[in-house]
Amino acid sequence: MIGRKVAIVGVGYSSVGRHTGRSEAHHASQAALAALDDAGLTVADVDGVTTWGGDAIDFAHMLGITPVRWHLNAGTSPAFVTPAVHAAMAVATGHAEVCMAWRIMMQQPSSAALSAGGASLGAPNMGDTQFAYPFGDFSPTQWAGLLMNRYLHESDATEEDFAQFAVVQREYAHRNPDALQRDLLTAEQYLAAPYISKPLRLLDCDYPCDSGSAVIFTTEERARDLRQPAVLVEASALSAIHNMSFETLPDMVRTSPAHCAEVLWSRTDLRPADVDCAQLYDGFSVITFQWLEGLGLCDPGGAGPFVRAGGTRLTGAMPTNTDGGACNVGRRHGANFCIEATRQLRGQCGDRQVDGAEVAVWANAVGPFSGAMLLTKG
């Protein structure tokens, strides 16, 4: 990475849960204090703040982080990776010494609330949505259904492979005290769960919740004096290949992750074979399949057979989503993958620890846009 070498030194979550009744600010505060405690830092050390969800400047003021030398409120972007990359860049360029990145995400309205007319999915300003809403195309589950169906059509994957993926994710979650869903799952249970937008089933979707996540970036030099083993940012990449209409993507199978992975690998001498664990966004499970292929962690079109053969298991060729994924830890919008990658490289993952993990990749989003970060043990 250009500039100063950057490290992740602190990670933390709020009291994540369903309908917590707490505000964004409350979740931001909890997550920030947890991350600071993890790092052995205080608010006086922080001089940069980035977030998607809430307002970074308000959060900083609330916490007593002042004055701030770097700040960003990310709008719609590829989940947590955007505030994370911009925090890392701020440290790399010297615009900040210690930068905190948040993803605060409040539980979204249910289909029941939406269909009763008591809620809507965002403000219908009728930009491009005017060409989707009249056809009953409102929800991300629907573009995900379109992407998953096309993926099943073009690849070697079957619905049973998606069942297996969910089963393996739950096995990890069973070993993760932070997970919201920890009971072991069978393939039959996955297949019996209702379709939301066929072929997308309920258990292909991340688990709605209120969550606050925070990650602290600083220099490698500073990291040496802090509480945790340093985890270094080896490379990062953001990508956008299309406007925000997922439905009109020219290719629904090879989307932004394929491009993002190219950019990521162009920025490091490490290769896919060097990766010890992968933490790949599962807002919808087909997204993880695209990342496995895009990053070169399995053959093109081969994520289904790879999962079927146990490739994503702890004992498999590429342990994947070892915290159980957002399907089980709840919708922390990609921040959980940064935090899990960090904990794996620190060796703090207990009975879901990947032995000798030295290189981890985490990645967010799909379709028009995405981002990824490659981390190494310091």
Partner: protein, 130 residues
């Protein structure tokens, strides 16, 4: 509600369809600055538009009160024959989900959702072999 010739001839359908087509063209050719192309293309379109199914999904949950009584319904992305790569979102009607095939030829029809809103929907082309 589909395929009524009087409805096809009415102005509102043409306006919506032109917008729809321009939308697709603008997205496909934004870098080519093809507004003139878009206009020419839209004028050449007749209601007998044919297209092929690129992807589809059967929505089983309602995300808006209007659609509560319509589930399950098919959301489809079709590629219009007039221009390779030109895709639009629509509904697929007149076919059950298990019978839909990728690449299946479909033709446009129109459905009036409200007095001031008519949308183009697609159904399997008859007499055309996939």
């Amino acid at each position: 509600m589909h395929g009524d010739s009087d409805q096809l001839a009415s102005g509102s359908h043409a306006v919506f369809f032109e917008e729809l087509l321009n939308y697709g063209l603008d997205r496909s050719f934004a870098q080519a600055q093809s507004s003139e192309v878009a206009k020419d293309q839209s004028q050449s379109i007749t209601p007998q538009v044919t297209a092929t199914v690129y992807s589809f999904t059967e929505t089983r949950k309602a995300f808006h009160p209007f659609f509560v009584d319509r589930i399950p319904y098919l959301v489809v992305v079709v590629e219009l024959e007039e221009q390779p790569g030109l895709r639009v979102v629509s509904n697929l009607v007149g076919v059950a989900e298990p019978d839909v095939r990728f690449g299946m030829p479909v033709t446009v029809g129109f459905e009036q959702l409200a007095p001031d809103l008519t949308i183009p929907v697609f159904s399997p082309a008859t007499g055309v072999t996939p």
